[in-house]
């Protein structure tokens, strides 16, 4: 029998219902894998007792023939989701010791669907980063290595702990959040599937806020089908989030069987960057051929404002962050540095509590929102955002989904690209435009780089057409047959 930690979410679900193994056995195998994964620094909090108790409850429901959609599935939760009674840090020192008295809507939905919590996973501080090196609790190591090399690599970010845990078989799936690429880029780096839903599909209530007009929660899994199943459990209208979309949640799973014959796949010419590695370009072309071989038609499209998406994002996201992060004042929760005056307390607490990247973004955000600069920076960026969204609207008149690379490179080593913030920001060049437009997008592992590291392809769909996007993603997955394994497997060590 396949090791329990090797099972996909769909296979685990089916095995549990057939009673081939119990939810407790599945949870116990994963609890061991979580322990074995400690060298990766992926988990910030392990909750083995809760996992086993939840699994026992699952076994009881399965025994009564009342299995729920995610019954008994062991999950890792990004430490940005508030979990009642379990410390939630957002990767920041300023939230050290914070134990939420409430549960985020998305995680509550997952538990209501029968899922089992393995623990909370590491991330870039406040989700600001593309390499998971800004966490106050240390960098996460990717379970992957370059062929013939033992240098530790980044898992991508900000959902780096989620991606590393799922790739290393220390969770069947994980929640992630994506503001400008934080689900898709780490999924690409770690050889897994990462899905950012349409803005509004998943509630943001109880998710520590970074940039509220962009943040979206989504699933990180090892197969496209698993992402479809998990999204169904996470999504849904929530009156507690005023931007949560009051639209019905379809059963996403059948979409992965839907043929792509006759679909028009948009290939944006502006995504062909100068200096893009040949292997990325080649993989992208390969993706087009795979879809054409299944009866889709490739059409060239124009997204003329692509190059302006990143600079617009780096005004909008820090502006919203500077406002959202004003709440960390040392009064109601988290860190406090005592001081005689209240302003001194605020300033010392925030200086001690925020890391360098978060401080940089708060200061940029404060600057672009300050008197005299608001129009020139913030309003300008919001106008450019309108134009970028219009670009996508126009493109979707001549295509049904868009195919691009997920990231401009494979994973890099811990320590590389650390001294130049702008070079780090370029990791998100292919993921930020669809974030600004609020569109659903998914990264699918599609091949290996020359030195043996995973590379992902991204499919962008129309707003609220996750099903169309999933059908294209599944077609890519079938053709790519990605079966490479990371160097470090926590599951098999367990």
């Amino acid at each position: 029998m396949t090791a329990l930690t090797e099972l996909s979410l769909a296979a685990a679900r089916d095995g549990l219902r057939r009673k081939a193994f119990s939810a407790r056995e599945l949870a116990a195998a994963h609890v061991k894998a979580v322990e074995a994964a400690r060298p990766l620094n992926a988990y910030l909090a392990e909750t083995p007792e809760r996992a086993l108790a939840m699994a026992d409850a699952s076994d009881r429901r399965i025994g009564r023939g009342e299995a729920l959609p995610l019954e008994g599935i062991p999950l890792a939760i990004k430490d940005l989701f508030c979990t009642e009674g379990v410390a939630t840090t957002a990767g920041s020192r300023i939230l050290g010791g914070f134990v939420p008295p409430y549960e985020s809507t998305v995680t509550a939905n997952l538990w209501r669907a029968g899922a089992v919590m393995l623990g909370k996973v590491n991330m870039d501080e406040f989700a600001m980063g593309s390499a998971n090196v800004t966490s106050a609790y240390g960098a996460v190591e990717s379970p992957w290595r370059r062929r013939g090399e033992n240098r530790p690599l980044v898992p991508g970010g900000s959902s780096g702990g989620s991606a590393a845990a799922v790739a290393a078989r220390a969770a069947i799936a994980a929640t992630g959040t994506d503001t400008g690429g934080s689900i898709r880029q780490p999924a690409s780096f770690c050889g897994i599937v990462g899905l950012k839903p349409t803005y509004g599909r998943c509630s943001r209530w109880g998710v520590v806020a970074f940039a509220s007009s962009l943040d979206q929660a989504g699933p990180m899994t090892r197969t496209v089908r698993d992402a479809a199943i998990m999204l169904g459990a996470m999504a849904g209208h929530d009156p507690k989030d005023s931007t949560s979309a009051p639209v019905p949640v379809p059963d996403f799973e059948p979409a992965v069987e839907r043929p792509v014959k006759g679909l028009r796949i948009g290939i944006p010419r502006e995504y062909r960057l100068d200096g893009m590695p040949a292997e990325i370009e080649a993989l992208w072309r390969q993706g087009v051929s795979w879809l054409e071989a299944q009866g889709a038609t490739a059409v060239e499209i124009g997204l003329p404002l692509t190059k302006y998406a990143l600079p617009a994002y780096y005004i909008i996201a820090p502006a919203e962050a500077s406002s959202n992060l004003a709440r960390y004042d040392g009064v109601r929760f988290g860190l406090r540095v005592p001081c005689d005056s209240i302003d001194g307390m605020y300033e010392q607490t925030r200086a001690a509590g925020f890391g360098a990247e978060v401080r940089r973004r708060i200061l940029i955000g404060t600057y672009v929102l300050s008197a005299g600069y608001f129009d020139a920076y913030y309003l300008k960026a919001q106008r450019v955002r309108t134009l970028i969204a219009r670009d996508f609207d126009a493109a979707f008149r001549s295509c049904d989904a868009i195919l691009t690379p997920t990231a401009p490179s494979a994973a890099f080593a811990i320590g590389e690209k650390m001294n130049d913030p702008v070079a780090m920001y370029l990791n998100d060049v292919f993921t930020v435009p669809s974030s600004l437009a609020g569109l659903p997008a998914i990264s699918v592992p599609a091949g290996l780089s020359e030195d043996g590291l995973p590379l992902g392809l991204q499919v962008i769909g129309r707003a609220f057409d996750e099903e169309g996007m999933l059908s294209v993603a599944a077609a890519l997955e079938r053709a790519a047959g990605f079966a490479a394994m990371p160097a470090f497997l926590a599951g098999s060590a367990a």
Partner: protein, 95 residues
Amino acid sequence: MALDKATVAHIATLARIDVPEADQETLARELSNILGWIAQLDEVPTEGVEPMSSVAQMSLPLREDVVTDGDCAERILANAPLQARGFFVVPKVVE
């Protein structure tokens, strides 16, 4: 476009983050680099374009003006670094 030390000190005060003078020079350089890179947005003509604050194409939902939550002062205070008699405690504000 280039930020100087004084501007960094000013925005640090606005953001209520203590930035030691020793860090101001480096930060001024880093922030200036980022702003210099952002300045390419000036190439995009945006006259008459509506600024987009949200992609959610809907009006703000309204609900009945009734109490839906509350009576949980203890839970709210549970994470406070300092509390007394049901209040958050801060340094003296009014002399």
